[in-house]
Symmetry: D3
Subunit: 221 residues, 6 copies
């Protein structure tokens, strides 16, 4: 393999604080002789992806970005609604990972029933449909919201405390034994949350970039 492959991680919303957050959190997956991991913010994305209209509004811009970046070895769509996942896959031969899909699949290797910490309530019906679409419903314990906006959860002081509270509800009431953080902007809370809860906590951005590393390295082998 001549050149280092490239993994492009796209934040579909225009909140650069979120991009910067997971960019920093991805440091442990940046190896000197491993794939380059480039994090970019989608131009013209909404400030947060909350409604279905937000989801739809970024799918074709993501597709165009994927088409422009044909040199990339793999793509990661870093929004828990996996917007545009299938339309991006249609537009490139490179593998495309969605952080929700990759996060849930990774969780299934760490526990028996997964629980999801969502940001708000508005996305839960959409996530549930998606769990059924992926055929993973028998392993789904439940999803509970922080009842915060993406911006609040990324910035707020109380976010970790609230995540611990919601995580405990998911464990006790929904009987999950592994937690998935249902947002791209929660990376820095993964480790303290895992320590507080005592069960594995999966950061979906790390999960997806990990899968992307495996895919590009296998392809180049």
């Amino acid at each position: 393999m001549m050149t280092r492959p490239d993994i492009l991680v796209v934040n579909p919303n225009s909140n650069a604080v979120v991009t910067a957050g997971f960019d920093a959190a991805l440091a442990p997956l940046r190896f000197s002789d491993g794939p380059a991991i480039r994090c970019v913010t989608l131009e013209d994305g909404p400030y947060g992806v909350e409604t279905q209209a937000d989801v739809e509004s970024v799918s074709l811009p993501l597709r165009r970005l994927v088409e422009r970046e044909q040199g990339a070895g793999a793509f990661v769509i870093a929004c828990y609604s996996d917007p545009g996942l299938h339309v991006c896959r249609e537009g490139t031969k490179a593998p495309v990972f969605g952080i929700c899909e990759a996060g849930l699949l990774t969780a299934l290797a760490r526990g028996d029933r997964f629980g999801v910490i969502a940001i708000g309530e508005g996305t839960m019906a959409r996530h549930q449909r998606y769990v059924r679409q992926m055929g993973l419903y028998e392993r789904f314990a439940g999803e509970r919201p922080l009842k915060m906006s993406v911006a609040e959860s990324a910035a707020g002081e109380n976010t970790l405390a609230r995540m611990i509270e919601v995580g405990r509800d998911l464990m006790r009431l929904d009987r999950c034994d592994v937690i998935v953080m249902g947002c791209a902007g929660m990376s820095r809370h993964r480790r303290p949350l895992e320590e507080a809860l005592g069960v594995p906590v999966v950061d979906p951005v790390l999960a997806a970039v990990t899968m992307a590393i495996g895919a590009v390295q296998a392809a180049g082998a």
Copy 2:
């Protein structure tokens, strides 16, 4: 993080050719500043894991190995029957990955319905039970055997040709759009098989080691 974490990949059978095969195939996942990936052969394992008795015979030896190696950051059990997976998980706080579980979960991020190329016919009922246990049955297209022994498939000249034939049956008759190689000893065939079939082909050893890298790097973050 002071020291490089360690991923221990255990071949539960005593066929060192198989171990050497995947050890070589893991080269693309060895990064100079990434986790060390050590491949070992289980002492006293059977020459191949084919029967249920073979599976059972290695579960406690694997557990003991895991207990002896408490310094490892993660473990990978490199046999497609995932022998001892849950008993090993019980014996350590480090994450333990089975190549079947990790291979199937990774396949679900690459296609809609997965097909499995098995070695022999004797393992198919066991694999099918396991797919149900994992709750992944709705995405399971089918499993078809090479009708070879593990040793033959690892060594034989005709293995690739036969894998292509079986892969085409899985695509055409069972309508899969992603293939999982159902053995730890097929790594060197992944790339030519993928090129011949035109759909993603997942090597479960690479899939599991990839997940292990993600887990140890996240833990150390």
Copy 3:
């Protein structure tokens, strides 16, 4: 109820022949004192909705149309991929029906296992994901393509003969006992196809408009 409610049936592709076809086929659901049924062609839609990019390209235009037409009593999205269904639902208090969803649900009241006659092969993975998303997989017998374009199937002389052939395969090989026509442009073939096959054949456009009539009439009661 003062005014006659209005059902807006939108063809998301720009092929006015398809719109005219189902407009005519909806005659039996136009009652003098029932809801008005208006069929419109989405401006700027692609000529046919075949790829995932086609699907994505019409979702926001459909949403905008729904928002503009707030007086409508119900909406029907007349494309078998149900593009924009959830984003349109988010944009109005009026019920929104997708012809695929309504067609499959209606078929479940007419037989035990449904088979789908698709136009081409490219849409089958998408349809299958969608059947899982709807939680209807246990009743899904299979989907088989005509291997025609939307335009060919709408216009062609041989379409009916080919539909009968595919329908027979669905009955014999996939053991379905009810057929859903997987396209908005097949309405005129429903009756002869049903006569030839001897099992119920569901036109999804009629199914969705029927549900829309029920919803608007109940709302006005």
Copy 4:
């Protein structure tokens, strides 16, 4: 089409108040040039269908009625246990709809998870078996009883208040987002219940008659 088709809606219990109730509620589905909708009470039916013996006692009388009325374009069995549904289907070429089946299928086009307001507790195990039989279990949020008899619920002053209370439990505790009224005698409460709960409420009698209209009009096209 020469003659107006006829939809025969049969109340399998002998409580003519229930028949009169849904007869009135069906007014919005009676179009001057649409199918005639005739509501009849099964002679010799039990006063209410509550036990399994009640269900069985009406299946053959319903079959005989269907055989006598071969001119009807479609039949609706207006009891939430769908008694005799399959035996009636066997006895006629006309489509036969059960209000439970049609009500649940219609609900699936209006929300993601359906909840059912039952009359009493005795019917819940039967309904649950039936949801599994229909293959709709993944979308089933729950069923909760009013703890009233059919007669009480049809006549009583407090029925609506109790329905609102039970509906709120279904939404809050079982997380449904669409409600199905689990009885043929609740039609007049649909609209105020929907207004109180803020989610779609499906009257299964209207749902089934709507499907019947679609079927007879398509057949005559």
Copy 5:
């Protein structure tokens, strides 16, 4: 417990040859100090239970028989359509077993995927609905008909040869590894069929009477 409990095995059809057949086949379950096993033919039952009308026609007569025989320790309904199973359960505190239900459940302890040898084609949709109702669909390999009447299959010379042929199709094409005989009148073929096929063959009448013995003996303990 003073008196020997009584298991009443009811043939819902009026074909006494069928009753005599399973009465003889039950000899190995008649122990000198075990429950009495009485086989009776339902008066007024149809000559064979083939149509849904046949099924419905015996449910209330079975219920009345159960109510008359309140001294029985357990009941077995010896028809593969399990007619009247739930209405009989409602009418007695004694356990009531259906041979289809008991046969399938017993098969699940003998193999991974069950196949069913049916008599005719007309009952297959009913059986499939019932498998879903029982929640056993993931273990259901398939059902294939002998294309004989009940009478033919009970009497005919060629029945065994045809059963072997159908059993082989179920094994090879549907990949079952345990067979259930889908009729009360096939008992005498169980052993030669099992020898010919090399997989367990379950006689549902024996399966149900076995469960009944367990239940009455436990109750008396």
Copy 6:
């Protein structure tokens, strides 16, 4: 049939009190001219099977026992984790029953949704995986622990009172209508528990031995 067949019931743990307990409880299944039922304690088994390591530690000893006892007509593994079930099946042509599998299957003939009374909390994830493996998840209401050790539950005075309490929670909170006792050492509580709860209570040891009787008697027919 010349000789009385033999059913060997093996307690995989070395607690002879448990063996003696179910040996006594099996009295009602010992018929003078029926199969001999021999209860044995596995030499070298752990004192109780609680952890996954306990489960694994007995699978090969059970296999060896099965191989030594080739004259037995059937085997029952009398531990609710069904240790070694599939490896024992591989080692003999005689049928092998696990008490968990047989207990759950038997429960499905006595109620619609089963609840399980477990001993401790540590086994619940294992049991849940197993329910999925068996494909019975749609009928699984829940499992709740006594929070006792196997030894305590077998000996303790308070066991019955605690079982009633847990059983009531399973009925009220998880809506089960049949209970399975999740341990081989609870046999003597079956009858009073059933009387207290008013729903069928299944002793899995009796259930498995019952199935074994049916199998050996059919084989000898």
